[in-house]
C-alpha cells in the first residue's frame, strides 16, 4: 500500500498553517510540542502523503495521542475537517499495523462485545462478579451498578399528559450497563415533555468508538445496521421517527454517518436522512412544543445539590455545534444555581476509550479541568456524555472533591417530578 492512501490529502490542503488551533488543543497544551498539535499533525499527514517522512511508529504515536476532541475544528477559520482526516488516517494505519496477537485479540474482543447485546450483558455480569474480588479495581475498570440497575428499557413508553409526538431513543451499547439510571431519566423527561418513546429492540451500537479507533469496516457495518434499525421505527403514516440521543459521542457520529458511505450513494442518502432527524436530547427538548410542556413541570427547588456547573462534552459543542440549548435547559431546571466553569469546552480526557488506552495522558488532560471545577465552587457537575460522566467521577474521587456528577437528563428528571 502506498503511503499517500494513509492520508486524506485533499482535506489536508485546507490548512494554511495559521496556527490558531494550537492553544485549543489539549495535547499541545500539556506537551508544548508542535507535533502534538492539530497543525503539527496535519503537517505530518501531509509530509507522509508527499513522501517527506515515513509513516513510522513515531508518526502512528502522534496520531494515537490525539483525543479526537475536535476543539480545533471549532476555532479553525479555514474549516479544516480535522476529525474526518484523523479517522481516515487511523483507519488506514490500523489496516497495516502489525499488532501482537494478544493485542489483536483484545481489540477484536473489545470492539466485538460492543456490537452484541448478549455479550455486553454477560461481560457486565462477569465484571460485576470480578468487582467483589478486587480484580476490576486493579485493572482500572469503571464501577458497575448492581443488576437491578442494569435492566433494559421497555420498547414502548407512553407520553405523559397527552401525546405531542412519537420519538425513537437510542439505548446504546454500554449506557444500559453502566448508566441505566441516565437512560431511565432520559426516557422519563421525554415522556413528561409529551413524547411517546420507542426503543429499537434490534439496535445495539452505532459504532462511534470503532470509527474513532481505526476500525473502519466494523464502523461501516454498524452504521448500516443503525440506519436500518431506525428506519423501521415509524409513525402511523410510515415516516421514520426522530431519533433522540443522550450521548454526545454517539450523536456526533450518527449525524456524520454520511462520511462512511463515500462510495455508496444509496446508503449516503439514507445516512443523510437519519442525520436530518437525529437530535441531541437538549436540542430536541429546546424545541416547541416540547419545551413549553417540560417548562411547565420544572421546579428549580426540587433538583440535586447546587451550585451547578455545565461541562460541554466535546462531541456536543465541537462535534455537533450544540452549546446554547443545554445551558438554557439547565438554567431553567436549577434557577440561579448555575456557576461558570473555566474553559468549559476543553476536553476532560475521556475521549471514548482513550482513558482506558492511555490512562496517563488522559489524567494529564483531566488535571486542569479538575482545578477549574475546584475553583468554580460547584457541588454538582452536569454533562451529557457517558465517557465524560465516568471520567469526571473518577477524577473527582481521586481529587477528593465534594462534587457529584450528573447527566443533564437526570437534573431535568429530578426538577420535573
Amino acid at each position: 500500500m502506498d503511503n499517500h492512501s494513509l492520508v486524506d490529502y485533499a482535506k489536508s490542503l485546507d490548512c494554511v498553517h495559521c496556527g490558531l488551533c494550537l492553544n485549543s488543543c489539549p495535547t499541545y497544551r500539556i506537551t508544548g510540542r508542535e507535533s502534538s498539535s492539530p497543525r503539527g499533525r496535519i503537517h505530518l499527514m501531509r509530509s507522509v502523503a508527499e513522501g517527506a517522512i515515513e509513516p513510522d511508529d513515531d508518526f502512528a504515536e502522534e496520531m494515537d495521542f490525539c483525543l479526537l476532541c475536535r476543539n480545533c475544528e471549532s476555532v479553525c477559520p479555514s474549516g479544516v475537517r480535522y476529525g474526518a482526516m484523523m479517522e481516515h488516517t487511523r483507519g488506514a494505519l490500523e489496516e497495516r499495523r502489525q499488532r501482537p496477537w494478544t493485542a489483536r485479540l483484545a481489540r477484536s474482543i473489545g470492539f466485538g462485545i460492543l456490537r452484541d447485546r448478549m455479550a455486553l450483558r454477560v461481560t457486565a455480569r462477569l465484571a460485576r462478579l470480578a468487582e467483589g474480588t478486587g480484580l476490576a479495581r486493579l485493572v482500572g475498570a469503571p464501577a458497575l451498578p448492581r443488576h437491578a440497575e442494569r435492566v433494559l428499557l421497555p420498547t414502548h413508553m407512553p407520553a405523559e399528559g397527552g401525546e405531542l409526538a412519537r420519538v425513537a431513543m437510542l439505548e446504546g451499547c454500554v449506557m444500559p450497563e453502566l448508566l441505566g439510571h441516565v437512560q431511565r431519566a432520559t426516557a422519563q423527561v421525554l415522556q413528561r415533555a409529551g413524547c411517546t418513546v420507542q426503543i429499537s429492540p434490534m439496535h445495539v451500537c452505532c459504532g462511534s468508538l470503532h470509527a474513532h479507533n481505526g476500525e473502519v469496516k466494523a464502523a461501516c457495518e454498524l452504521a448500516r445496521a443503525t440506519i436500518e434499525a431506525y428506519e423501521r421505527l415509524t409513525d402511523e403514516r410510515g415516516n421514520p421517527l426522530p431519533l433522540i440521543i443522550n450521548s454526545a459521542g454517539c450523536g456526533s457520529h450518527i449525524k456524520e454517518f454520511e462520511h462512511l458511505f463515500a462510495d455508496d450513494e444509496t446508503m449516503a442518502v439514507r445516512a443523510r436522512a437519519l442525520s436530518g432527524r437525529s437530535f441531541d436530547l437538549s436540542q430536541f427538548l429546546a424545541r416547541e412544543p416540547f419545551r413549553s410542556r417540560l417548562m411547565q413541570r420544572l421546579n428549580p427547588k426540587a433538583s440535586h445539590q447546587g451550585p451547578y456547573a455545565w461541562d460541554d462534552p466535546c462531541h456536543l459543542c465541537h462535534g455537533q455545534g450544540v452549546r446554547r440549548e443545554p445551558r438554557e435547559l439547565l438554567q431553567a431546571a436549577v434557577g440561579d444555581g448555575l456557576v461558570p466553569l473555566a474553559d468549559p469546552e476543553s476536553c476532560c480526557g475521556s475521549a471514548g476509550i482513550y482513558s482506558l488506552l492511555r490512562p496517563r495522558d488522559s489524567q494529564a488532560v483531566l488535571q486542569p479541568r479538575i482545578e477549574a471545577l475546584r475553583a468554580s465552587g460547584a457541588r454538582t457537575l452536569v454533562t451529557s456524555n457517558p465517557g465524560c460522566q465516568m471520567q469526571w467521577e473518577a477524577g473527582i474521587r481521586t481529587a477528593q472533591l465534594d462534587v457529584s456528577v450528573s447527566h443533564l437528563a437526570e437534573v431535568l428528571e429530578r426538577a420535573s417530578r
Binding site: L13, D14, C15, V16, H17, C18, G19, L20, C21, L22, N23, S24, Y28, R29, T31, G32, R33, E34, S35, S37, R39, G40, R41, H43, L44, S47, A52, I53, D56, D58, F59, E62, E73, S74, V75, C76, P77, S78, G79, V80
Partner: protein, 475 residues
C-alpha cells in the same frame, strides 16, 4: 562540532528527555512558521521550561558552535522562526506561566511562551488588559510578540509591543542570563530592553517579560460600517484622521475577505453585498465615547457609509471582531496557501496604494484580498496561492516585491508588525543604505560576534560581511 550524540546527551541531562526532540517526525512540524513556503527541518528542537534551562542549553550550544533559531507559537508571517540548516530550534511551548500580576502598579511578569490571549484573561479579573492584540492573539506568544515587535488593530491607539514592554530576562547567545526584569518606565543607562524588542531573535532569547497593563475603559463600543467601494472606505479613514476623530482601531476588510469570513466558523454577519467593511472601536468614558461618535458618524456618512451597527456587549463585540481576527485563516477556503504582505504607507496615500496593490496582483493573474489596519496605514494584501506550483509561487514573490517597492516609493516602510525575517530580507537595501545596515550589523555583533542567533534573517549577509571586513583585526 555541530549537533552530535554527545551534545544531545548533554542537552537531555539539562532539559530532560521531553525537552529534547530529535526524532524526525517530531522535528518536521517545526520546519516552517506561518510563512509556509520557506522550510528547513531543524537538527534538534529544544523545549526548556524556564530561564535556567534555556541558559544551560544555550551554553552547550555556544560551546558546540551551533546556530539557534528561537520560536514562539510559529504563527509569524515573515519566516522569523524558519529553522536554519544544521541549526537548533528553541521553542517556548513549555514556558507558559503567568509569574506575577501587580494590579496596583499595573504590570505583569510572564514566561515567554504565555499566549497573548491567556495574558489577557489572566488580568481580566483585575480590570486590566494588555493592549497589543495581533490577529493571531489566540495562539501567538508574548515572547514572539517581543521578538517581532508585533502590532494589532488596537496599536493604532496604543502603539506596538515595544510601547508595552517594561522589562525582560534575556539569555544571551553565550548562555548568560541578563536580568532586566524590574519594570522601568524610564530605563537607566542604555535602553537594552528597547533595543531587544523587535530584534527578531538575533540578540538572544527573552525568557521572561514584564509588560505594562492598562485599565479597561469604562465603555468600549465596536462599530461596523459598510461601503460601496474600497476607495470610499480608504477615504473615510483619511477623513477620520484629518479630523482628529480618532477611534482606538480602524480596520478595513474587502469583499473577498468578507466572503471567506462569512463562510467560516467566525461568521460575523458582515453583509456580503458591501464592497468593504470598516470596523471601528471607540473607547473611554461614556461622555467621550458619545462625543467621539457624534464626530465620526457624519464623517462616515459623507463617504456613503451604510448599515452602521454598534455593539457594546462583550459577546457581540467579540463576534464582530472574530471575523477580522480569523481573516487570514479563513482565506484557506480560497487556496491551500496564503501569502500575507505587510507594508506601511502614509495614510494620505492609502487609497492609491490599495489600488496599486490590486493592480499589481491582477496583472500577474493572482487573487488578492485586502484586510488591513487602515488607521495605521498598515496594508496586508493577502495573496492566495498553492505552494506546490513553483511558477505561481514565483509570481507571488514578484508581486510581493513590487508592492513593497511601491510602498517605499510612496514614503512608506517595509514592515508594520510582521518583522523582516526571511521574507523581506532582500528588500532591506531598498530602505537602508549600506552604512545603515553596517551599523545594525555592528550592534548585532556586539551581542553575538559569531552570528549564531537566527542567522540569515533581518540583516542581509553581505552587509554583515562588509562590517566584519572593516572591523579591526578581522580576517
Amino acid at each position: 562540532m555541530g549537533v552530535d550524540s554527545t551534545l544531545v546527551e548533554a542537552l537531555r541531562r539539562e532539559l530532560g528527555s521531553d525537552g529534547v526532540l530529535d526524532r524526525r517526525s517530531q522535528r518536521v512540524p517545526y520546519e516552517c512558521d506561518g510563512l509556509a513556503f520557506a522550510r528547513q527541518v531543524p537538527e534538534l528542537v529544544l523545549l526548556p521550561r524556564d530561564t535556567q534551562q534555556t541558559a544551560a542549553a544555550m551554553r552547550l550550544l555556544h560551546e558546540a558552535r551551533v546556530a539557534i533559531v528561537p520560536r514562539g507559537a510559529g504563527t509569524g508571517l515573515s519566516g522569523g522562526a524558519t529553522p536554519v540548516e544544521g541549526g537548533v530550534t528553541i521553542g517556548t511551548g513549555r514556558m507558559r506561566s503567568v509569574l506575577h500580576i501587580d494590579a496596583l502598579n499595573r504590570w505583569a511578569r510572564v514566561q515567554a511562551g504565555v499566549v497573548n490571549a491567556d495574558l489577557g484573561h489572566a488580568c481580566e479579573s483585575h480590570g486590566l488588559f494588555y493592549a497589543p492584540d495581533p490577529s493571531s492573539q489566540k495562539a501567538c506568544t508574548v515572547g514572539g510578540n517581543v521578538g517581532e515587535n508585533s502590532g494589532g488593530p488596537h496599536c493604532f491607539r496604543y502603539g506596538n509591543t515595544s510601547q508595552h514592554v517594561l522589562g525582560l530576562v534575556i539569555v544571551t547567545p553565550q548562555g548568560e542570563i541578563l536580568d532586566l526584569s524590574e519594570p522601568q518606565v524610564d530605563p537607566q543607562g542604555l535602553d537594552l530592553v528597547g533595543l531587544f524588542t523587535g530584534s527578531e531573535g538575533m540578540l538572544g532569547i527573552a525568557t521572561e517579560i514584564t509588560v505594562r497593563l492598562l485599565p479597561v475603559p469604562e465603555v468600549v463600543e465596536t462599530w461596523v460600517a459598510l461601503f460601496r467601494s474600497l476607495d470610499a472606505a480608504c477615504d473615510a479613514t483619511s477623513d477620520l484622521i484629518a479630523a482628529r476623530a480618532e477611534p482606538s482601531a480602524i480596520e478595513i476588510l474587502d469583499k473577498l475577505t468578507i466572503e471567506a469570513v462569512e463562510q467560516s466558523v467566525l461568521r460575523a454577519g458582515y453583509p456580503q453585498d458591501a464592497e468593504a467593511v470598516m470596523l471601528l472601536e471607540l473607547e473611554g468614558s461614556e461622555a467621550s465615547v458619545q462625543a467621539n461618535a457624534a464626530v465620526i458618524e457624519p464623517l462616515l456618512a459623507v463617504r456613503g457609509a451604510f448599515g452602521l451597527r454598534r455593539a457594546r456587549a462583550s459577546a457581540d463585540r467579540a463576534r464582530l471582531w472574530a471575523g477580522r481576527k480569523g481573516a487570514y485563516g479563513a482565506m484557506g477556503r480560497i487556496a491551500p496557501d496564503l501569502y500575507v504582505c505587510d507594508a506601511v504607507v502614509p495614510r494620505r496615500h492609502l487609497r492609491a496604494l490599495v489600488r496599486r496593490t490590486t493592480e499589481i496582483c491582477s496583472g500577474k493573474g493572482l487573487r488578492i484580498a485586502n484586510v488591513f489596519h487602515a488607521g495605521d496605514g498598515n496594508l496586508h494584501p493577502n495573496i492566495s496561492y498553492d505552494r506546490r506550483n513553483p511558477e505561481e509561487l514565483r509570481r507571488v514573490l514578484e508581486a510581493g516585491d513590487e508592492m513593497m517597492r511601491a510602498c517605499i516609493e510612496a514614503g512608506g516602510s517595509l514592515s508594520g508588525e510582521h518583522g523582516i525575517g526571511l521574507e523581506k530580507l532582500s528588500a532591506m537595501p531598498w530602505m537602508f543604505s549600506s552604512e545603515d545596515l553596517a551599523v545594525m550589523c555592528r550592534v548585532r555583533e556586539a551581542w553575538d560576534p559569531e552570528c549564531r542567533m537566527n542567522p540569515g534573517k533581518l540583516l542581509p549577509i553581505r552587509a554583515c560581511m562588509e562590517t566584519r571586513m572593516r572591523a579591526p583585526g578581522a580576517t
